[in-house]
């Protein structure tokens, strides 16, 4: 979350814990939990790109409330924009929601106001100030029930400015009666950089959130209710608390006014009085006539239909997911957007709670071949072999020798040197080795002058002394295997067990070995795929979940409807074959 959000988060939830009246057991969380969560919250600034496991994300201003952010998430090139609550209209202190530089592939967008349209801001402000102006001039009091955060600050800015421009009002007090708003004022006074140019320019002179004409009010007892005044109090719905207390006192005087600036929740008194009933029920159960004027001027910082549709038209996301809105309103928005975006093949989805939306994107995986491996551009049909290194969602192909240059990885050579007790003649070993291996070179060691043998250019044997020979090689699977066989051979000579006689091993007939190999292949395939049968014309029929593949054992060709299975069978067969057939020693 952004810096401002984190600061407000703590205040808001702490306030919630303090005012919630449920018993300790029913409390979902307490202050300690909040403090613990504070340590886990990472903050980021607008536009700051953060990368986690190769997934990049950053945020744009959303214009809903101080610190509000729209998040863009980039997963391997597929971008998802989540607007949250946003407003495309710049107000007194917030920047309008930004238009992202890149169009997202999916746009998850709020639909709170559906197809409704807002009045222009300056008209709403004019209505607001006019109501207050006329009420005050007639000696009345103005009650503004508002939520402690967000719109309250905007309205206070309007009031403070209006008062500055109207010196005749300077003796009329404005109060905001919300301890939470008072606490949050420090946050508003600090995170000026998250606000718009207007505030920043004003800041050059003095902090616009250090109000000149507005003071906080702690409780109703501190209010000397003697003349006209303007009081902004929470809660916004007039359910209880200070705003309700004031309402009860003021509602029967027709000089007074109540201005409701925010979103109205069903079932609250604020919603009820909009329809201007003759009487209202007070908190003490009595009824009183509702004589005060009631005005509903929405300052809600949610996008309306005009904003939403222009925003989407500018962005042109191929997929739109509508969230957060009353279902009818959302439906109307969907239909209207469908007709408006009809010619651009846009998919609009309105999932229900807990219903997941799955979309598949086949992004091309691109790799960069670098270093020695890329010294010349390959022609079509040539092979490229190297290490594929994946970091996040970027791929690089490089030669093993370049690994340490382009990544923090490095390669290692392990040289092994082993001494084997052997007191026989060195020549015997040579003789034996020559019987097994094709290439055995003998020479003498340049330093010590002892005779050496080099087997297949991999393993070197040295006669260190009368009692010992030493063997050294560089680790890799084949050399390790060769060395093991040499060790076995030397030990066998030592033990003088029946000599390995040069005998033309009863070479099994081609057919026999072929059969054996076939058996092995079949067994391995069964262990991999389960249902493997010998079909007609010598092909193996592999059946996996109804997908059938035909494998030609001779050529390794696979036929199948299912591409995935075909590839798997092909790869498996290739691996089995390389396991069954002898390893060519000439590998290097």
């Amino acid at each position: 979350m952004t810096h401002a959000t984190k600061a407000i988060y703590k205040l808001l939830l702490t306030d919630y814990v303090k005012v919630s009246k449920v018993s300790v057991e029913d409390m979902l969380f307490d202050e300690q939990d909040i403090n613990r969560s504070m340590d886990r919250i990472e903050v980021l600034d607008f536009h700051q790109t953060v990368e986690v496991n190769g997934i990049k994300f950053w945020c744009y201003t959303a214009g809903h409330v101080l610190g509000a952010a729209m998040f863009m998430v980039d997963i391997a090139g597929v971008r998802v924009l989540y607007t949250g609550d946003y407003s495309r209209e710049e107000d007194r202190h917030l920047r309008a929601a930004e238009l992202p530089q890149f169009s997202p592939d999916i746009c998850i967008i709020e639909s709170t106001y559906g197809v409704q349209l807002h009045q222009p801001r300056n008209i709403r402000e004019r209505r607001f100030t006019d109501v207050i102006h006329s009420t005050i001039s007639q000696g009345g009091r103005v009650l503004i029930p508002a939520y402690a955060l967000g719109r309250a600050q905007e309205l206070l800015l309007i009031l403070d400015e209006y008062w500055s421009n109207h010196p005749e009002f300077h003796n009329i007090p404005i109060y905001y009666a919300s301890p939470l708003a008072k606490k949050c004022m420090a946050v508003y006074q600090t995170y000026i950089l998250s606000m718009n140019e207007r505030i920043r320019n004003q800041f050059a002179n003095s902090n616009p959130f250090k109000f000149k004409h507005i003071s906080p009010l702690n409780s109703i007892d501190d209010l000397s209710d003697v003349g006209p005044s303007v009081v902004m109090a929470s809660p916004g719905g007039l359910q209880s608390g200070l705003s309700r207390q004031l309402f009860d006192i003021w509602c029967s005087d027709k000089k007074n006014a109540c201005v409701i600036p925010g979103y109205l929740v069903e079932g609250t008194l604020a919603k009820t009085i909009i329809s201007e009933p003759k009487e209202v029920t007070l908190m003490n159960g009595l009824t009183a006539p509702l004589n005060m004027q009631v005005h509903y001027i929405s300052f809600s910082a949610h996008a309306d239909y005009a904003q939403t549709s222009t925003f989407l038209k500018e962005l042109m996301p191929p997929n739109i997911i509508l969230v957060h809105g009353e279902s009818h309103e959302m439906g109307r928005l969907k239909t209207k957007l469908m007709t408006e975006l009809a010619d651009c093949n846009t998919k609009i989805i309105t999932p229900k709670n807990c219903q997941s939306v799955e979309m598949y994107f086949n992004s091309e995986k691109m790799a960069k071949t670098i270093g020695r491996l890329a010294e010349k551009m390959p022609e079509v049909g040539e092979t490229v072999s190297g290490i594929l290194v994946k970091t996040g969602f970027t791929y690089q192909i490089m030669a093993p020798d370049d690994l340490h240059i382009f990544s923090q990885l490095s390669t290692t050579n392990i040289t092994q040197r082993i001494t084997i007790p052997y007191s026989g003649a060195f020549g015997v070993i040579k003789y034996r080795l020559e019987q097994i291996y094709e290439s055995v070179e003998s020479s003498t060691d340049e330093e010590s002058g002892v005779p050496t043998l080099r087997v297949h250019d991999r393993v070197t044997l040295k006669q260190d002394s009368e009692k010992h020979i030493s063997m050294h090689w560089t680790s890799d699977p084949i050399s390790d295997m060769v060395s093991d066989s040499i060790v076995a051979l030397v030990l066998n000579i030592n033990r003088e067990v029946p000599k390995v006689v040069v005998e033309s091993e009863a070479i099994k007939s081609e057919e026999e070995s072929g059969k054996k190999a076939e058996k092995v292949i079949h067994a391995l395939l069964v262990s991999l795929f389960g249902d493997v049968k010998l079909g007609d014309n010598g092909k193996l029929v592999i059946n996996v979940d109804g997908n059938v593949a035909h494998l030609d054992k001779q050529s390794g060709d696979v036929e199948s409807e299912n591409e995935g299975l075909k590839e798997k069978v092909k790869a498996a067969f290739k691996r089995i074959q390389s396991a069954v057939k002898p390893i060519p020693l000439a590998a290097s």
């Binding site: 300056n122 050059a204 670098i370 290194v389 990885l409 007790p421």
Partner: protein, 739 residues
């Protein structure tokens, strides 16, 4: 094949002059930093003036004079007109620093290199970015992404990363690795293997003493104050001073001292006001304390902010601590206060950063410090008597001239506007046109007289009409209903409420700091200078609070970042050479130390091409995870996609066997506990690891240099044929990935 990168230093190589470098990436010219020193010597900008007009973008890294001081001058005089990029604090504090510089200079000299307006207009073209914001350039720089990253040292201080086609060019000077009171350490270490790293050698030979400096700092101050002396800290206007203020605040609170602290610059109050709103740019501890208790660390409780010296003079007597700009003691309040206080043995002048080369501060930091220094004391005094009269006369003369010029210009304009009218008006005017010509002819003989009176050194073209009052033809259009009007002219502006508010707020960011100069500008004044010798009897101490990485940590960071190519700038010749030799040995084989105006080509000699990885190939690749990396061996056949891209397809013939590769970086120190956890006795003996009774594991070959050399680790395992040998070998293998 790669992106072409050229670096040309314009100032600040092989010495400690201001920083200014030209970095050209595929023909797009970045000017990185645009510094000047406290002497404001225009000759330093000679190289910049030659290239200023070719620059496409300017990147600023720190809000002090050495990094951005020349910006107003370059914009005004050298034809620099590129967009500028910086972080918000660099923009704001840089602006304030420049105001402070100007006002300090203006106070003591007829400073005319740039004005406050020039500063304002120069900073108007700044685009502000946040840390880690990837800004995609457009137009000529298409494909280039610039991003600022945390550098430490100063608030908003930036390490610039310029990326094109996946190749990074990183510019990192004056970074700090240590976390400080108000700043986090740099994130430079998180970049690995950039194609090019441009960095400074400023501190290469300079090792910070261990932590005790803090006590020394506090002791020195409290001792002097207790003895009844005054303490002067010459500081910069809006940079390191922030850290010092916090340290002092803490110290004062901790020891409940009540000596007054004054922070005296022309812009001190605005500086602190702005800094209070920059919390999101500061270190974790500051943001944390704000989030949990809404305590803004820069709500200073013990510090009084002053913006002119008379306030200090009026302050009650007694020991006090003053932080005053400029750090160089060349001008500004610190200069004046130094002259006043230097001759008293009780006083202390405490330097917290090395003075710029050739300044008074640097002289005083010499060891041993000079007994006496010559200083020029200048003062701006209002003009009186004859001088004032002379000045006023001069002003009226100038005004007259100006008025005359203006009237001429106006006349010229009206002529110009009439001219085309004549031509345009077409047929009905033919007669008139003739008339005009005729009248011109008629006027000709008398013309001379008019000209003498009205036009000075200006010959009107022969076609011009005789001087007359401006006359504008009302050639508005008429239709059947009367004059055709533009409805837009009559729309009542709805925005008036906003407009009014804007007026209150105003756009005038420099009101309080500017006011000083406005007063000063309004009154005719002159500068009076006299040279005097100041006996330096006060105590001089230098304690390093520069907040730059020291030699040791520079080397650690560089070897960690391990760039493919390294360019060293900014630092004395010895420091540069020392660091070069070090890096050649331990960091990378390509280290460049260009001279001023020498263009070096650091284009990477890398070969690279892009290929598409086909689904078929990728479904058969098994990745092994190794830290942040996943690796696999691929054998693939090259094919082409429909749009002509190269793509890699699975190979059709059995893969040719390849030499197996062991991937992994083995640290002997890590291997030891691993083996002992497996129940093998291990100990180090003579550089080798003895495992069990007989087997030894050794690392051979040169270690260290990462960028060059073979890069392949050599490990030897030796032992007699026994079971242990194979067991240990298996454990050793388990440390690597076999590909």
């Amino acid at each position: 094949m790669g992106t072409s990168v050229q670096v040309t230093p314009l100032s600040g190589v092989f010495n400690e002059n201001p920083l200014s470098y030209l970095v050209s990436i595929d023909g797009f010219n970045f000017l990185i930093d645009c510094g000047w020193n406290d002497h404001f010597d225009p000759s330093l900008l000679q190289p910049l003036s030659k290239v200023a007009s070719t620059i496409d973008a300017v990147l600023l890294s720190h809000p002090d004079t050495l990094h951005l001081g020349a910006l107003p001058y370059a914009m005004k005089q050298l034809g620099l007109s590129a967009p500028v990029f910086s972080t918000e604090p660099v923009y704001r504090l840089g602006l304030l620093t420049m105001y402070d510089q100007y006002l300090s200079r203006r106070q003591v000299s007829e400073f005319d290199l740039f004005t406050l307006d020039d500063i304002d207009s120069a900073f108007q073209s700044v685009t502000r970015l946040t840390y880690s914001q990837n800004y995609h350039l457009s137009g000529k720089g298409e494909g280039i992404v610039v991003a600022p990253h945390v550098a430490g040292h100063l608030l908003g201080g930036t390490v610039w990363k310029i990326t094109k086609d996946g190749e990074d060019v990183i510019y990192a000077v004056d970074y700090n690795r240590r976390k400080e009171k108000h700043l986090n350490g740099t994130v430079l270490e998180s970049f690995v293997r950039p194609a090019v790293l441009i960095t400074d050698a400023y501190n290469a030979l300079h090792n910070q003493p261990p932590r005790q400096q803090r006590e020394m700092f506090q002791d020195a101050i409290s001792k002097t104050l207790r003895a009844g002396g005054n303490v002067l800290l010459p500081v910069d206007s809006a940079g390191r001073v922030l850290e010092l203020l916090l340290i002092l605040e803490d110290y004062w609170a901790e020891h409940s001292l009540n000596y007054p602290i004054y922070f005296l610059t022309y812009v001190s109050s605005s500086t602190i006001d702005y800094v209070k709103s920059f919390l999101e740019w500061m270190g974790d501890s500051i943001t944390k304390s704000f989030e949990t208790s809404r305590d803004n660390a820069f709500l200073l409780k013990h510090v009084t902010l002053l913006i002119n010296k008379s306030e200090l003079d009026n302050a009650p007597d007694g020991p006090k601590l003053v932080l005053a700009s400029m750090a160089s003691l060349e001008a500004g309040f610190s200069h004046d206060i130094f002259v006043e206080w230097a001759s008293d043995v009780k006083n202390l002048v405490l330097f917290t950063e090395r003075g710029q080369f050739g300044t008074l501060a640097r002289m005083l930091q010499a060891d041993p410090p000079p007994k006496a220094v010559k200083v020029t004391m200048s003062r701006r005094v209002p003009l009186v008597g004859e001088e004032l009269i002379a000045y006023e006369e001069e002003q009226t003369r100038l005004k007259k001239e100006e008025a005359l010029k203006a009237s001429l210009v106006k006349e010229e304009e009206s002529k110009a506007s009439l001219g085309p009218d004549n031509n345009l008006s077409g047929d009905p005017m033919v007669i008139d046109a003739n008339n005009a010509n005729a009248s011109a002819d008629v006027v000709e003989p008398h013309g001379g007289r008019y000209r003498d009176i009205l036009i000075d050194g200006f010959v009107p073209p022969s076609t011009s009409v005789a001087p007359m009052f401006p006359f504008y033809e009302n050639n508005s259009e008429w239709d059947d209903f009367g004059e055709v009007i533009n409805p837009d002219d009559y729309i009542i502006k709805d925005e008036d409420m906003d407009q009014a508010a804007m007026h209150i707020g105003g756009d005038d960011g420099k009101l309080d700091e500017g006011s000083a100069s406005l007063i000063l500008d309004a009154k005719p004044s002159k500068v009076v200078s006299n040279e005097l010798t100041v006996q330096v009897k006060c105590l001089l101490i230098f304690i390093d609070y520069e907040g730059r990485a020291d030699g040791r940590s520079i080397k650690t960071i560089l070897s960690h970042v391990a760039p493919l190519k390294l360019v060293l700038v900014h630092g004395s010749a010895e420091a540069t050479e020392h660091l070069k030799q070090h890096c050649l040995k331990h960091v990378c084989p390509h280290v460049y130390t260009p001279q001023i105006e020498e263009t070096i080509d650091v284009t990477s000699d890398l070969c690279a091409y892009k290929v598409q990885l086909s689904e078929k190939l990728m479904s058969n690749v098994l990745f092994k995870k190794l830290g942040d990396y996943e690796i696999a061996w691929v054998d693939a056949e090259v094919g082409k996609t429909e749009n002509g891209m190269l793509s890699l397809l699975p190979i059709s013939t059995p893969a040719p066997p390849h030499k197996s590769v062991l991937v992994g970086d083995l640290k002997m120190a890590d291997l030891k506990p691993f083996l002992s956890s497996k129940g093998i006795q291990v100990e180090f003996a003579g550089g080798a690891l003895r495992c069990g009774e007989y087997v030894t594991i050794r690392k051979v070959g040169p270690a260290g240099q990462k960028g060059g050399g073979s890069g392949t680790q050599q490990i030897v395992i030796e032992g007699p044929l026994c079971e242990d040998y194979y067991k240990i070998r298996a454990y050793l293998y388990s440390q690597f990935y076999l590909l």
